[in-house]
Amino acid sequence: MEKITKRFTGVTANLDVDFDVRPGEVHALLGENGAGKSTLMNILYGLYRPDSGTLAVEGRDVSFSSPRDAIAAGIGMVHQHFMLIPSQTVWENMILGLEGLPSLLPKREIRERILELSSRYGLLVYPDAKIWQLSIGEQQRVAILQMLYRKANILVLDEPTAVLTPQEAERLFETVRQMTSEGHGVVFISHKMDEVMALSHRVTILRKGRLIGTVETASTTKEKLAEMMIGRKMIFQIEKEALTPGRPVLECASVCALGDRGIPAVSHATFMIREREIMGIAGVAGNGQQELCETLVGLRKVESGSIRVNGEELTNSFPKTFIDKGIHYIPADRKGTGLVPNMNVSENSILKRYWNRPVSRKGFIDWKEVFSFARGLVSRYNVSTPSMETPVRNLSGGNLQKLMLGRELSDSPIAVLAVHPTWGLDVAATKFVREQLLAARGAGGAVLLVSEDLEELLSMSDRLAVMCKGEIMGILESPADTPVEAIGLMMAGTPAEEALASILQGGTRS
């Protein structure tokens, strides 16, 4: 790809970007949110046409008008959200959109090809399983297989590890290595420096749509990459002061709750969070973390068990009661739950306080107060927005999160439940969010942090609970000293003692 330029209404997403992948290499693409990574890859995959610049595959100039052309040229892409049909089987998804198939599907040949590919690349799946029965990790394997089935020589993986356990991620890396050893080129988009360092041969850094540079991974360091990415030195270490936890704020005893489909999602969760501490919850997404948080703020019915706030029984109270008690919740689904996309910044800023003075008086909302409140929030939490009247749907992910964070934290809450608060954020925004959560802890708040990023959990948490299939497998009192492999085993469903014992016996202490 040479001199690729793409402009959207007023925004230059890519400006004169050069990018190439060699056979047999992993080329990592690094950049903050909105740096133009996805645009560049969508051009490569034929979803967008560049305003100027050229694309060449194996020396021949090409012009893609749809992903179909890109696939025909041997380019495959695995998106963050897999393009699979849940109600169909693996083999049916494999031939999705393929042309030139006989009307009577040669099921046996297709299955054999799948089995052959999956054993060659270590992507174990059962061809007759339905997609909805598969875990996220397995679905990802299907999505990768789908591309290999189409004989893709160049594979683009868009943040593939965001949804995986450490073990699953390691297995994915094996697959990627197998592919490159056979001469496939892989483009690896990621936010996680460690993975980029471990897996890639070269790294290309984009910033604000411009190419900052392409470097050999072996000749660079995490810090250098981060600096190129955000344009200034970045402190990776999080300053966490040692604090003595106080009284329990939120206590939850043997709480059971159902998921949206009426299947048990949380079973017998028992734990407490104290003042001045961060309790982490590790686990692969979809193992009951979100449902647990929802029960803790009154958004989901507690089937059995009890929830107490500062000793007061609040099981199945109204959400408003929890808010008024000072329990704040930062949901993972920012636009879907935490904010109202079509309403503007100031209207969104009062979502959790619109019934309180001075914003509201005798049933009326004082918009002057709202504006000044919103302005304060925006400046204190570095939200970059054109105005207070901008609909929040036009804000970027990082700014949405800062706005929401400001709204939830500005009341000095007694407890904050944050679910994937740094998911999809760039380095600077991530750092900001983490600092703010630590500040809430410093101010005496109890923080519950649900995350998939183990590095984040280990550096932030005072204690760490690991969840699998709705159960808490164990609570680690000093997570930083626990072998990561043990946490991985717990995430896969092994109880804490067993996991620790088996890791210690194996003698692999990290």
Partner: protein, 369 residues
């Protein structure tokens, strides 16, 4: 060289489009309406000028337009309220009927010979009846997710037949020579009319309600809640708002306003309950509310314009012998174009030329060196 059309979502809507789009849409509707009228064999120009002259040309026409606009504005406010919350109350027509039935019942059974007292009784009866009628659908929707479009629509037929039952049966005026209608109301049960026209005191409500709801939606806590619940029910629950309670409440108020619109029509204009009592105001109100983009003040204007169309349409039937349905076609065209115009508010269309190389001259020059 081939041209291809590309549709891109707008990040922000230019303010100017807020005026241009409705005007262009209306013009396009009138233009295609003209083609339609032409094929009916009448002169479009003559037809349109008849509509304007009969509805706005003299004091009588103007007053008739206002008479039509009164129930329209009130019921449009009713449906606007529920639409803002993304609850589809299609049942304003039935709620108008229920309000009228309740008002007629209170005249029959609780008559007080005093204008103000009688008005208060009728007002309350109509509001409660219309509100309860809508709240039934609201409760089912909130509690068991029963589709309110179906329930409110079906309840329209129930209300209509209930009214028919009364006017054909127990309430029929023996002096009506068999016509399905009640006896004329006594004077105390009539709303005053003004200026020797048929414009009645309902006018005040029709002006007051849009103003009140504009204030409510914009400046009150409850209005904020309704807007949040309409835009994102999940975020509303997250902020501690009670969706179920508010669905029922909004439906009750929506139905109550429609019911009161029915009462005004009954006691202000017709003076007796009769078969075919509302001319489909409840359905036209839906069009009005949408054309006004759910803005309470805009509803006032649009109701008036719709009144022009209704009055003009009636004249057109008489003068040019056009069928009633031709007026409905015109109405439909306007709705179609105005709602279609919404598309341009959200998206913009770009025409791209295809077939030219992707590289543009400037950058290929750079490569050449």
């Amino acid at each position: 060289m081939k041209l291809s059309v590309k549709i891109e979502p707008r990040l922000e809507t230019p303010r100017m489009l807020g005026f241009v789009i409705p005007v262009v849409s209306l013009a396009a509707a009138l233009l295609s309406g003209a083609v339609f009228l032409f094929f009916l064999g009448v002169s479009p120009f003559q037809a349109y000028s008849t509509i304007i002259r009969s509805s706005l040309g003299d004091a009588y026409g103007l007053s008739e337009t206002v008479v039509k606009a009164i129930p329209l504005a009130m019921s449009a406010i009713a449906v606007m309220l529920s639409f803002t919350m993304l609850i589809w109350n299609i049942g304003a027509e039935g709620q108008i009927f229920m309000g009228a039935i309740a008002a007629a019942a209170s005249v029959r059974y609780f008559f007080v010979d005093n204008h103000i007292a009688m008005f208060a009784i009728m007002f309350a009866a109509a509001g409660i009846a219309g509100g309860a009628w809508a709240a039934i659908a609201g409760y089912f929707r909130a509690r068991w997710s029963v589709n309110e479009i179906i329930t409110t629509l079906m309840l329209n037929y129930v209300a209509m037949n209930l009214l028919n039952y009364f006017v054909y049966g127990p309430w029929r005026d023996p002096a009506s020579l068999g016509f399905p209608m009640t006896a004329p109301f006594p004077d105390a049960a009539r709303l005053p009319s003004f200026w020797g026209t048929r414009i009645h005191a309902g006018l005040f409500l029709a002006i007051l309600l849009p103003l009140v709801f504009w204030v409510i939606l914009r400046f009150t806590r409850w209005g904020y809640e309704i807007r949040v619940m309409g835009e994102n029910p999940k975020a509303a629950g997250f902020a501690g708002m009670s969706y179920i309670k508010n669905v029922v409440l909004v439906m009750f108020i929506s139905g109550a306003i429609a019911g009161i619109a029915g009462m005004c029509e009954l006691s202000g204009l017709q003076g007796r309950l009769q078969h075919g009592f509302s001319g489909g105001y409840g359905y036209t109100a839906i069009i009005v509310a949408w054309l006004a983009r759910l803005h309470p003040i805009a509803i006032l204007t649009v109701s008036f314009l719709m009144g022009v169309l209704l009055v003009g349409g009636e004249t057109l039937q008489i003068v040019m012998r056009l069928p009633l349905s031709s007026m409905l076609v015109l109405q439909g065209l306007i709705l179609f174009f105005v709602l279609g115009g919404e598309f341009f508010r959200k998206f913009r269309i770009r025409i791209l030329s295809e077939g030219v190389p992707i590289t543009q001259p400037t950058s290929s020059e750079k490569e050449g060196k």
